[in-house]
């Protein structure tokens, strides 16, 4: 007699993969129309997963900034996973590698949270956070405000970041779930740089704050 689960072929914790395109949008910004994306893929089971995260922004066919992470994710409580691994950030002409550890999950009142602490060369430490809320206007229309802020321990001129609060981004997106897995959306995105980051931007002849309308698609499988 075998000792397999009593259901021949029913595994309660199967190996699953999920591909997620949280954002894939184009913004109207002074004719540059930047494309931005947030994507992730994971493979794993209930408690442990391997995550790949890839976010970025692209203007005129060139990447303005990307963030890539390879993480091991471990469920530590009902609503939180702790995630640790490596991170690779790029801007035109420079890149940085970090060891990173963070948490991802849902805080009370349904605030979806992603926060990580990354450690790089020259004692650089940075905190990246993002918070998102989903308000169901109807069963299919979802209004999603979000807020993200990044803090750096040290200046890093090549990366265009100054120590302290570096930048804040806020957005409001309205999506329509054609299907659970596919939802086009429109929204507004606002971003502002502070302190040293603002100085570096100004020195490059860039704006320190921008507001734009975005239109995009959110999809997963």
């Amino acid at each position: 007699m075998s000792v397999l689960p009593a259901y021949a072929g029913m595994e309660d914790d199967p190996l699953i993969t999920k591909l997620m395109l949280g954002k894939f949008e184009v913004g109207n910004l002074k004719g540059t129309n930047p494309i931005a994306w947030e994507s992730s893929a994971w493979i794993g089971k209930d408690i442990n997963k391997l995550y790949l995260k890839f976010d970025g922004e692209r203007v005129n066919g060139k990447n303005q900034g990307t963030e890539s992470q390879l993480l091991l994710s471990h469920a530590i409580s009902a609503f939180w996973d702790v995630q640790g691994g490596i991170r690779h950030d790029t801007v035109p002409g420079a890149s940085r590698d970090y060891a990173t550890i963070g948490v991802q999950g849902v805080a009370p009142y349904f605030f979806e949270t992603d926060a990580s602490l990354s450690f790089g060369k020259n004692n650089q430490v940075k905190l990246n956070t993002s918070f998102e809320y989903e308000m169901m206007l109807t069963q299919k229309w979802v209004l999603s405000p979000e807020l993200g802020l990044n803090i750096y321990a040290k200046d890093d001129e090549k990366m265009g970041v100054g120590s302290g609060l570096s930048d804040v981004e806020a957005g409001l997106r309205l999506r329509y779930e054609v299907a659970r897995e596919f939802a086009p959306y429109i929204g507004i995105n606002w971003g502002k740089k502070f302190g040293g980051s603002a100085d570096f931007a100004t020195a490059e002849g860039e704006d320190t704050s921008e507001t734009m309308l975005v239109v995009g698609v959110r999809a997963w499988y």
Partner: protein
């Protein structure tokens, strides 16, 4: 098509003063209603002929003809059967799909046996994967129970397994695959075992009424979707519109307070059903709701309807508008007859009911899903051309604090002040000085001569009080006006919910009332302990003070203006056989994490769990505590679960016991069958984890 509308008895509708229930949403997405032609289609050729069994003609083979005949399900009777398991093309929704079918039909043929005879079933597996058949609710030798990994190795592809066992019981049961998700893809059917003695009731005609759920999706995909987004199939969530309505009625502060617990626990008040009409077509005897199943009757006939919930994931609330139902059997066993308007049938349960339809009418048999996302339906009529009006789905209910197993005895800070408490003007009622704290026991002792209290169940019957040890002392009840949540069983018995009478409770001073403690086992509040294994990422809640709610009809059926069957109504027709008290108690917690879609018992999933060992011959009490927000139908193979429904001398014998959210329930088991037996939640997608082996040695 001629239809009749002469429902003099009328369709019973839910009262409108329940703000706890959302109003029927006109834009609610219609569930998968099914093909006009209904039912399974075009068999690829019936395989396997029975030798000494008779086969009724298959009435479902007709392509696109609008079949108006009474549906006749395939039925096999006799003592020796040849059954085959094959892939079978079906089409319930307009999209052809491949099902796993027994003898070529979905549902499988009804098997009609006779108590006292020995049946032999030669089951050939023509699939390319392992399969099995389990005879649900039957007392038989362990080796015949059909559970791969526990009682045998299953039936390998191409092989035949011969089941042979004597029938020592009669009644309505069912059979299904116990392999993978084959039950979801069509391997289920009903068993009718005719009694050797006369029936203890009269009837002139009988029909099997099986209720099932069909999805065009591959169940492996459904399961993966639940893992990736557990509320994937829930399209009845509370939205901004509900929020605005509630704020308008009760104010912002009160709304925030009301929703506070759910927000902090990150749980949805509408988490009623994991898989819904978004993907399911609900079938009655294999017929889709578009036409539904049809049964005929003649004047003056008493009809026995054998309801069986053969679905994978769906609870059904069954009623026949215009017709009362007398429930005479539960899980195949006779019970003291009880007449109701409606009953909830959990996955794997069966109920036999007798109805006496009026020959001037046609009736709709309406089986709506618990989640209110769809229904299965049938017609009882004197003529096959007649159909009756189909009621609308009831409003979607909201889960309450009771369903969370909250400890209600210390509800400090609960601000009723802004809450819309419909019906009664309780302004100025000062409960602040009331000493109603009763600790573990129920605080009651209300003055029943007071008309305010006379309507409360605590006064009407000592057996069914609804006031738990609720600490009103900290409640600010200063500004209460209308709109009490009548769907909350705590309030269901109060006059304000029962009728529109508006007692004026202005300036009633409860401060001098001595409210002693009244212990009552029916509303026993116990604060439970939770095992260490119940803490961790795989658990999202623990019921603090689960209640024994035998008389609770369940979420969505409370106070709906109809008489709904409850477990408290179910008593064995015959006396309890084994009168020994239990020698020990085994407490088991049904646990899980909805968002991660992980399910377990005591926080331990089946793969990590040791068997529960019972000594052959011993009598034990099993206490189930539901630490989740869903109802779980818990099924023990091989032995009867004698439900402690209120009368120890007449304990009903069941095979499947539904434990409501945040509730506790208990039953007695005589371990009179040796072997390794399966014991699990019968919601198919919970079975992987919420499962134990019971080893009787």
């Amino acid at each position: 098509m001629k239809t009749t509308n002469r429902e003099k008895k009328g369709v019973l509708t839910a009262p409108e003063n329940n703000i706890g229930l959302s109003m029927s949403n006109k834009t609610r997405r219609t569930f998968v209603k099914g093909l006009a032609a209904g039912g399974a289609v075009a068999t690829l050729g019936l395989s396997g002929c029975s030798t000494s069994a008779t086969t009724s003609p298959m009435a479902k083979s007709k392509g696109s003809t609008m079949s108006m005949k009474a549906s006749k399900e395939p039925e096999l009777s006799g003592k020796v059967f040849d059954l085959t398991i094959d892939e079978q093309r079906v089409n319930f929704t307009g999209k052809p799909r491949i099902a796993t079918a027994i003898n070529g039909t979905v549902p499988a043929p009804t098997l009609r046996w006779k108590e006292g005879e020995t049946v032999t079933l030669r089951v050939k597996n023509n699939l390319s994967v392992d399969s099995s058949i389990h005879w649900h609710g039957l007392i038989l030798p362990n080796g015949m129970d059909g559970v791969p990994g526990l009682t045998y190795d299953g039936i390998k592809p191409g092989e035949t397994f011969v089941y042979k066992f004597p029938l020592i019981q009669s009644g309505t049961y069912w059979y299904h695959s116990h392999s993978g998700f084959q039950e979801q893809t069509g391997m289920h059917g009903v068993i009718v075992i005719e009694p050797k003695d006369a029936y203890p009731f009269k009837f002139d005609r009988e029909y099997v009424v099986s209720l099932s759920d069909w999805s065009d999706e591959d169940p492996d995909r459904i399961y993966a979707k639940l893992k990736k987004l557990s509320h994937y199939y829930n399209f009845n969530e509370r939205t901004l519109g509900d929020l605005i309505k509630q704020i308008k009625k009760t104010g912002l502060k009160s709304t925030m307070n009301d929703r506070e617990m759910w927000n902090e626990m990150r749980m949805s008040q509408r988490d009623l059903s994991d898989v819904t009409g978004h993907t399911y077509t609900y079938l009655m005897n294999g017929e889709t709701p578009r036409e539904g199943w049809r049964g005929l009757f003649k004047e003056g006939e008493k009809i026995l309807l054998r309801f069986a919930n053969t679905s994978a994931m769906s609870f059904f609330d069954v009623r026949i508008p215009g017709l009362k139902m007398t429930v005479v059997s539960s899980d195949g066993q006779y019970i003291k007859p009880v007449t109701v308007d409606e009953f909830r049938i959990g996955v794997a349960e069966t109920y036999d009911v007798i109805v006496e339809p009026d020959v001037d009418n046609a009736y709709t048999i309406f089986a709506q899903s618990l989640g209110r996302s769809g229904y299965a339906r049938g017609t009882l009529a004197p003529d096959e051309r007649l159909m009756a009006k189909v009621p609308s789905l009831d409003p979607v209910p909201n889960l309450t604090h009771i369903d969370m197993g909250m400890d209600m005895s210390s509800m400090s800070g609960m601000d009723h002040s802004g809450m819309d408490m419909g019906g009664g003007s309780m302004a100025g009622m000062d409960h602040s000085k009331m000493n109603m704290s009763g600790g573990d026991s129920m605080a009651g002792g209300m003055d029943c001569s007071d008309p305010m209290h006379a309507s409360m169940d605590a006064c009407k019957s000592k057996a069914k009080p609804k006031m738990s040890g609720m600490d009103h002392s900290k409640m600010d009840m200063g500004n209460m006006s209308g709109g009490m949540d009548c769907s909350d069983p705590m309030h269901a018995s109060m006059d304000a919910c029962k009728n529109k009478a508006k007692p004026s409770m202005a300036s009633m001073d409860h401060s001098k009332m001595a409210m002693g403690g009244v212990k009552n086992s029916a509303m026993d509040i116990t604060r439970v302990k939770h095992a260490a294994t119940e803490y961790g990422p795989h658990i999202d809640m623990r019921a603090e003070a689960p209640l024994l709610r035998l008389d609770d009809p369940g979420i969505g059926l409370r106070n709906n203006g109809r008489k709904v069957l409850t477990y408290a109504d179910i008593k064995n027709l015959y006396p309890t056989i084994d009168k020994r008290p239990p020698s020990r108690e085994i407490e088991l917690h049904l646990t899980g994490n909805m968002a991660r879609y992980m399910w377990s018992i005591n926080g331990v999933k089946y793969a990590d769990a040791k068997p529960i060992e019972l000594k052959f011959g011993e009598r034990v009490r099993i206490v189930l505590i539901n630490d989740t927000m869903m109802s779980h139908p818990i099924h023990m193979h091989g032995m009867w679960s004698e439900l402690e429904s209120g009368d120890n001398d007449y304990l009903p014998r069941k095979h499947t016991i539904v434990v409501q959210p945040g509730a506790k329930i208990s039953y007695l088991v005589t371990a009179d069958a040796k072997g390794r037996w399966a014991y699990h939640c019968h919601l198919l997608f919970h079975m992987g984890g919420m499962f134990r082996e019971i080893k009787v040695v």
